[in-house]
């Protein structure tokens, strides 16, 4: 076994030192009834060649977005990852280290987290950010719990254009805290008005921009309505690249911003691992869950970094912690940090505008198809098309032709037949004109045959 350094002579010598007759002696505390002596129905050991062959065979059964025109989005986006990002995150010192419990020998991870927190605060327009959470949806749920603690209220208003999976994660978690959730209905036209749902018992309003259907929202009036009622505004961003082109939620008055950071540096990987971002105002810091890295000095007066404010966390506070979260999404946060550092101000804002401009061109080309209507007046890199036919069978058919046409809304909202003809189409810097043309031709065929 290539991963095990001990040979039988070592094992015998070690047992002798311990004074045990055999390894079974070391397991003597295991009750007889639970000592496994049957062979499990699992395969034998395998070398690299065999393992690679097996897993590559499974991978080959999938149609990856790398070898098909892909317009999939809805919370996970295919972006280019510079080669340097993947190289750097595979360096041993980052890949094979753990939580920086010993800061003297973890300054690399800690400095990267400090830079990451700074980046997230800057992008979201907030004062402070944590060192990441599991993903955007769990970050949204944690934000709702945080707002309930801060306001000591239970009622939370969820936008009907919040990603349905985010809504479900919030529901699942908030039910534990006895939250009262109020949800607006799906508003594919982007004309939702949440202000009338806010009252003096409201803890928070959760609103996504760009929303599920791609619409961008000016949050300023909503933020004012929240603050008049003592409620907090939680802004959700599922496409973090949008923050390079649009006004930040912080600048529009959000109190907590949560986001999915996958778009920067993290591959799609069929849904995970991703990286949840959370940022807030300094005065809410003590109620923010998750790890935090802070600046300090060492014994010799030199600048250094440590994990800090950990008295909020489970390992000290136990049942009184702000959250049960123990880990962050370290390596994904590092990938995010490296990618954004490579881009810099000029690269990131250009990347965002490139996504947007390409999407504008694609939207106009697709909206010109017979029977197809574009629902968005504003959007970033994803928009909603209304097809003359149900969208899911069209997507299925185009997948058979090697085109990943986008996400039918019915995949996310199967119980809403009125949304069945809607297709979410995402365009990024990787999308070529030829791919848009292929999608247009495919949609034209699929829609006309069925009409």
């Amino acid at each position: 076994m290539r991963y095990l350094p001990l040979n039988d002579a070592d094992r015998a010598a070690m047992l002798a030192k311990i004074g045990a007759a055999g390894v079974d002696d070391l397991f003597c505390d295991v009750p007889e009834a639970a000592r496994l002596d049957t062979r499990l129905d699992l395969p034998p050991p395998a070398g690299e060649i065999a393992v690679e062959r097996e897993i590559a065979a499974m991978a080959a059964k999938n149609l990856g977005t790398g070898r098909a025109p892909s317009f999939l989005g809805a919370g996970a986006y295919r972006h280019h990852i510079p080669a340097a990002v993947d190289h750097l995150i595979q360096r041993s010192e980052f890949l094979t280290s753990y939580t920086p419990y010993q800061p003297e020998i973890s300054q690399g991870t800690l400095q990267a987290l400090f830079e990451f927190q700074t980046q997230v605060a800057l992008l979201t327009g907030m004062e402070v950010a944590n060192a990441s959470l599991y993903d955007g949806a769990t970050a949204a749920a944690e934000a709702v719990l945080m707002a309930m603690r801060l306001t000591r209220r239970r009622r939370t208003v969820l936008s009907g254009a919040l990603h349905p999976h985010y809504r479900d994660v919030v529901r699942t978690m908030a039910a534990l805290a006895d939250a009262a959730l109020v949800s607006g209905g799906a508003r594919p036209a982007g004309d939702e008005d949440l202000a009338p749902l806010i009252d003096g018992d409201t803890a928070a309003v959760v609103v996504q921009t760009p929303d599920l259907f791609g619409h961008l929202h000016d949050l300023r009036a909503l933020a004012a309505a929240c603050h008049e009622n003592g409620a907090l505004l939680i802004a959700v961003v599922t496409e973090v690249v949008s923050l390079g082109a649009v006004m930040s939620p912080g600048a529009m008055g959000a109190d907590i911003v949560v986001a999915e950071g996958q778009s920067l540096g993290v591959p799609l990987s069929f849904g995970g691992p991703y990286v949840g971002l959370m940022a807030t105002r300094e005065k809410f810091l003590r109620q923010m869950p998750g790890r935090l890295c802070g600046e300090t000095i060492d014994k010799d007066g030199r600048r250094g970094f440590v994990l800090t404010l950990s008295a909020r966390e489970q390992h000290i506070r136990r049942e009184k912690a702000t959250s049960n979260i123990c880990t962050n999404s370290g390596l994904c946060a590092l990938a995010f940090c490296i990618h954004l550092t490579l881009l810099g101000e000029a690269g990131f804002t250009k990347l965002a505008r490139l996504n947007h401009r390409k999407a504008v061109r694609a939207a106009d080309e697709l909206a010109a198809l017979p029977g197809v209507r574009l629902l968005n007046r504003s959007f970033f890199n994803e928009f909603t098309l209304e097809l003359p036919v149900p969208a899911a069978p069209v997507v299925e058919r185009l997948a058979g032709e090697g085109i990943l046409a986008g996400v039918p809304v019915s995949r996310l909202e199967p119980k809403a037949p009125e949304l069945a003809s809607l297709l979410l189409v995402a365009v990024t810097e990787l999308t070529t004109d030829e791919e848009v043309a292929a999608l247009a031709a495919g949609l034209r065929r699929a829609c006309s045959e069925k009409v």
């Binding site: 070592d10 045990a20 295991v30 009834a33 499990l40 049960n324 880990t327 946060a333 000029a346």
Partner: protein, 521 residues
Amino acid sequence: MMNHEGRPTAVTPSGDAAGAAPPTFTGNRGLDIEEPLSFEQGRDGVSGVDLEDLPAVEDRLGGLARRAPIGLPGLSEPEVVRHFVRIGRRNYAIDLGPYPLGSCTMKHNPRLNEKLARLPGIADLHPLQPVSTAQGALELMAELGRWLVTLTNMSAVALSPAAGAHGELCGLMCIRAALIARGDARRRVLVPESAHGTNPATAALCGYVVDPVPADATGRIDLAALKAKLGPDVAALMLTNPNTCGLFERDIIAAAEAVHAAGAFFYCDGANFNALVGRVRPGDLGIDAMHINLHKTFSTPHGGGGPGSGPVVLSAALAPFAPVPYVVQDAAGFRLVEEAAATAGEPVGRLKAFHGQMGMFVRALAYMRSHGAEGLRQVAEDAVLAANYLLASVADVMPPAFPGPCMHEALFDDRFLKDTGVTTLDFAKAMIDEGYHPMTMYFPLVVHGALLIEPTESESKDALDRFAATLRFLAERAKAGEAERFLEAPRLTPRRRLDETRAARKPVLRYRPPERPEAAD
């Protein structure tokens, strides 16, 4: 002696103590290079990424275009690569040496697994693409699930939890849902005092009152005390096995029977499954739910603190409550059940945006396939052997907290440091100067000044011998009155002890540019 280029090639011992070099002009010390924040570097207009020109179309941002600059620095690719390589070199890592953090299972991370997670058809697979185009991915998830269920002898597995604590949440939610479904909502969750902090935190998150259960003199759960605490309002017992003292819970089957007799469920924290894999199946111990940290037992990299992955295996009683989404197989192939309404059971809901940590599933499955069932059994045996060997190698100078044998980790208290003026923390810092990552300190809480050492199966006998010799040396130096060695440690690191009080009293959590004097108009 001179070589033919006329340079001296021999050195004369100077008699200076190591590290007595004068301060350098740069602040660098040879290969240890100081590196400022990225935000303190860079200049306008520079980027490490080249992008095509923007298409000439009108923006459609609804009047919300960003006008204010973000404040990111501009750096070229060579500068960015150098930046991260320089700071990375200030981290300890498994690839550099033993990383004996108890209860963290810092084992070798095979590089094959990294390669496979990056294969086309996996890394570039979108979570919402038609399942007809992702059959191989669903097959892989189903295969991982089969391994986990078989290794644990449980009924079902929920793959989506993102980490151990998230798995605990999933398991406890299933228990809560099962109790509510039978009209028997209960209030209390019993948690041993030695438990990870995530256990009480998770129970509290689920709305339960946490009721601590004491340990007995052998470091295990006090069965009589447990039975006394059980009652009709107890929802569950959360027990770690092997426990955080590194000991197998001998009475675990009796505990399970008592818990079930009281109508409660038995949650097992599977953080320490590495000691048991292939030798003991938790399902045979009467467990109802257990999370498995793929980043511990199944070697997915810890990555500086995540991402983890925490699938939860469930008993038949809890299986109907597993969260969505999950994979099922029928005649037509693999399907994903994504909606609660589409299931026969009563799922607790959804825990994560998508299907789980797929990138970690690939790595864990590659690890399992590489070992096979026998290899995994060997992993558990070697891990337990290594911990006991280490214990036997130092026990005369560092007495263990409890009599052995231990399982995969050895626990010491700070009696051996009594009256030396050296604390557990100081001892750990001296280990850093010796080139080791310290053990887990001050955990579990039930032992004074705890030092919890988990060598894992990845260390050779020679490496274990060197490590044990280092522990012995330091313990003897402490007893010999050399407190100074410890109190001043670490001396040889890029940074010495850091002022955590200062960091917490006036938190500085981000870079802010220095105030610029207002330009005079």
